[in-house]
Symmetry: C2
C-alpha cells in the first residue's frame, strides 16, 4: 500500500487523476425493514453494531464497514428510483477455516430466518460451500476453500 | 479476533453453532460482459487482477477479494433465475483521505465509462461525496468523511 500511496503522490505532481487504490471502504445493502435486518444480523448471527439509528446500522467487518440502510434512503442517496430495485446480482462470501464450520453456520443462518438458496455441497473449485439469502434476499455464501490462505484475523490473502 | 476465535472454540465444545465472525471474504458483482468490466476496473481505474479466466476476475482489495463474475454463472451458483436480477439495492464506497481527491476520482471514473449518478456535493453527515455507476450499473460512492479514521493501508476503523 505504501507503493500505491507513493503512486498517488506522483500522479498529483504530474497533474494526473489520483490513483484509486484497490480497496472497498463500505458495503451497503439497502433493506426494507431495519428491525428485521437487526434481528437477523445482530440477534441470529451475533454481530455487534458500531453505530445505529432509525435509518442505518454499521458493523465493523475487518477493515471495512458493512452497512444496512433503508432502501428508500439508499435510493435517494444515489438518486435512483427505489422501485427499480430488483434481486441483486451480488453475492457476499464468508470463508471459513475448516470444512466442518460450513454446515453449522448454514443451519445457524436458517434458524435465524435466512432462506437456504443452496445447501452446502462439494464445489467444482475444490472446496465446500452453500448459499443462504438474508431477510432481503441478499445472497451470502458460506465457503471453505482449501486453496485460499486466511490470516489469523480472518482476512484473505490471494496467492 | 483472538477472542472471537476462542468463542468459536468454546461454542464447539458446548455443541453450539460456531460464531460467524464479523467479516466479509468476497464481494462478488454479477456482470454482463467481463471484457467491459475489465476495461473499466483494470484499464480505467488501474486495478490489478490476481486471477482471471473467461468467467471471473479476482482483485485483492485490502483483506478481501472483489470478484466480477458473469451474472449467469453467479445466478447458477446460488440457484436463482438470472432474469430475476434487477438494479441492486447495494452501494460500495471508496473513502478517500482528503476532500480534494473526490472530484478527480469521479472524473477518472466518468472518463473510463462510468455513469455519474450524483455529482459530488457536501453531505448532510459532514463530508463530501458523489456516486457513479460502473458498466453494470453498480453504485460506487467516492466519499470523504472527516469523522472516520483511516489507517495507512486504507482500512477503516470506526470510532
Amino acid at each position: 500500500m505504501i507503493s500505491l500511496a507513493a503512486t498517488a503522490v506522483v500522479s498529483k505532481i504530474k497533474g494526473e487523476a489520483p490513483t484509486m487504490e484497490q480497496r472497498i471502504s463500505i458495503v451497503t445493502l439497502g433493506v426494507k425493514d431495519l428491525a428485521a435486518s437487526k434481528r437477523f444480523y445482530v440477534d441470529a448471527l451475533g454481530w455487534k453494531a458500531v453505530f445505529e439509528n432509525k435509518e442505518i446500522i454499521f458493523f465493523q467487518v475487518g477493515g471495512l464497514i458493512f452497512a444496512l440502510f433503508l432502501r428508500e434512503k439508499l435510493a435517494e442517496d444515489f438518486q435512483v428510483d427505489a422501485a427499480s430495485f430488483g434481486r441483486a446480482a451480488v453475492a457476499l462470501a464468508y470463508n471459513v477455516r475448516t470444512r466442518s464450520e460450513v454446515d453449522p453456520l448454514m443451519k445457524r443462518a436458517a434458524s435465524g430466518g435466512a432462506t437456504i438458496l443452496k445447501f452446502a455441497r462439494e464445489a467444482p473449485w475444490g472446496g465446500y460451500s452453500g448459499y443462504f439469502a438474508d431477510p432481503d434476499g441478499f445472497a451470502w455464501e458460506i465457503a471453505w476453500n482449501p486453496s485460499w490462505s486466511m490470516k489469523p484475523d480472518g482476512s484473505i490473502e490471494y496467492r
